[in-house]
């Protein structure tokens, strides 16, 4: 048994990472993940960007924002209900670690997935379309934060008490589509009517898109500091409904 809190913290970090690595091995190549996490953002990007003349950098920023949202948020609603059905989630819930540790481990699964896919999208942009990234460091921070924030959003859906991924996958996809249309991805923020813009400020995707605009094209409208702070805040906020929903599951027996 560990004594000090330092050892406990080390234990919990190691346990979260253990969960992450296991999920990567088990789930990354599953059709459900590929379809909702990889194909969908690219499909959306091409269906909305083809035949419109936008600069390569603009397109790259949009593709990255889309990828972060769709890929990071795909993991939670797929993995957790599936594990609940197979009973393997019990193993995690019974293990000597805090719920937050488990959630952070699961969040990292979605976040790393999104980071990997967006790096591919970035590489393609740089190599094929000659995109020159304006602020590489800002981009790195943006990808990391966006991935974590949207993975936490996915966790909220994954935490809903159910044993069937189908129950939560569609609602979570619909929500992501909804975010897409209110968040200044296809219509830039500065071209929006005031009311629409007010709504856009409620969406984390708005800040992710703006941050990508800054980092890739150097053209964002809001302050990058605000973008970073907003993504961080949304990410932390998204954890609390997940914790509440897990408590609820423990009462209901899922």
């Amino acid at each position: 048994m560990t004594d000090g809190w330092q050892e406990r913290v080390i234990d919990e970090i190691a346990q979260a990472w253990t969960v992450t690595v296991k999920d990567i091995k088990v789930y990354y190549l599953r059709p459900g993940m590929i379809m909702f996490g990889v194909l969908m953002p690219f499909f959306l990007f091409f269906s909305f960007s083809i035949r419109r003349h936008i600069a390569a950098t603009q397109g790259e920023a949009r593709l990255l924002a889309l990828t972060l949202l769709f890929t990071a948020a795909a993991a939670g609603p797929f993995i957790i209900p599936l594990e609940r059905r197979l009973g393997t989630y019990d193993r995690l819930m019974a293990a000597p670690m805090s719920l937050l540790t488990l959630l952070l481990g699961k969040m990292a699964v979605g976040a790393l997935f999104a980071i990997a896919v967006s790096l591919v999208a970035l590489l393609a942009g740089v190599l094929v379309f000659g995109v020159a990234v304006a602020h590489p460091w800002l981009l790195a921070v943006g990808i990391l934060l966006g991935a974590c924030c949207f993975a936490a959003l996915g966790l909220v859906f994954g935490s809903i008490p159910t044993r069937s991924p189908g129950d939560v996958q569609m609602p979570s996809v619909l929500l992501r589509w909804g975010l897409l249309f209110i968040s200044g991805v296809f219509v830039p923020l500065r071209d929006m009517a005031p009311l629409a813009r007010a709504v856009a400020y409620l969406s984390p995707l708005t800040y992710a898109q703006d941050l990508m605009d800054h980092a890739v094209a150097g053209t964002g409208m809001l302050s990058p500091h605000l973008d970073v702070a907003a993504l961080l805040l949304f990410g932390i906020l998204f954890l609390s409904p997940s914790i509440w929903l897990h408590r609820r599951s423990r009462q209901l027996g899922y």
Binding site: M1, T2, D11, A14, Q15, T18, V19, K22, K25, V26, L86, G87, T88, D90, R91, L92, M93, A94, A95, P96, M97, S98, R247, R250, Q251, L252, G253
Partner: protein, 344 residues
Amino acid sequence: MVTSHDVEAIEVENLTKRYGRPGEGVLAVDHISFAVHRGEVFGFLGPNGAGKTTTQRMLTTLLEPSEGRIIINGYDLARDAYPVKRQMGLVPEESNVYTELTAWDNLMFTARLYRVPRKERAERARELLQAFGLWEKRDIKVEAFSKGMRRRLSIAMAIVHRPSLLFLDEPTPGLDAQSTRAIRDLVRRLNAEGTTIFLTTHQIEEANQLCDRVAIINHGRIAAIDTPERLKRAFQRVQSVEVALEPDGQRHGDALAALPGVTTAVKMGDKWRLYTQDPSSLLPLVVDYAREHQARIVSLSTLGPSLEDVFLEITGQSVGTVRHETQEGDGRRPGMRGRRGGRR
């Protein structure tokens, strides 16, 4: 921290679980109380739907009780789950192994999750895989494993961190005789090494073979807690012989009930079920009876005790009162009414 030696492994007070909304939901566990001593094999015996899994899930922190208190190794589970979780191992009803991983990776994952020190992990995994006869298959993905192999692996995963308290939910149904024996031997060995074992089962024979004490649960309530030896008397009283006679099977009821050794005769469709402590002596009497009365025996069989019957016997209700019309039995003792624990 409490480490005194006379602390019970598990103490449960008034434990209750209601699924769904209060008032309209299912009352799966109904104010049960019991204690499991350190170092014993404690059987939790009951028919399907009795509330066994629900109880075990509450004891292992997976389900929140609606009411009541659980104290494990001196820690109140509602407040201090962490130290308890480190000390317990859990084998659920369905083998919850990762089918996409190899047996080796499954074990290493669990060892890491329970923070088994790096140096010991591989050693421990090898030891367990060898003991469970899975060493040759360690690099095969578990999706290719049989049910028995998965079960053995899931037990290995539950004890990789050497828990002092092991929960097993129906470890043997659906397994062949050899796997069943291997698992029972393993339970005995773990117990001999000092592990306290909480064993959920619906097989009377399994409880008899393995347990120091057995709790009998039905409809969410505990009817009795005792040694298998003493419960056996209740089990024996509800063995039975079932016979169908032709023609006119119905009219033999009274005469069959009067045969020596029969405690109760219950009509089950076209058959008569004759409860007795000694089915093997009753069989020839039934055959003689049929011959004397020129009745043809359409079917004749002996039945071991069913849990439902054992439960009724122990709670002092007449066998057969619930679902079938009954003939009055003679001289049946009221049986052991809920000894320790168990509210009725």
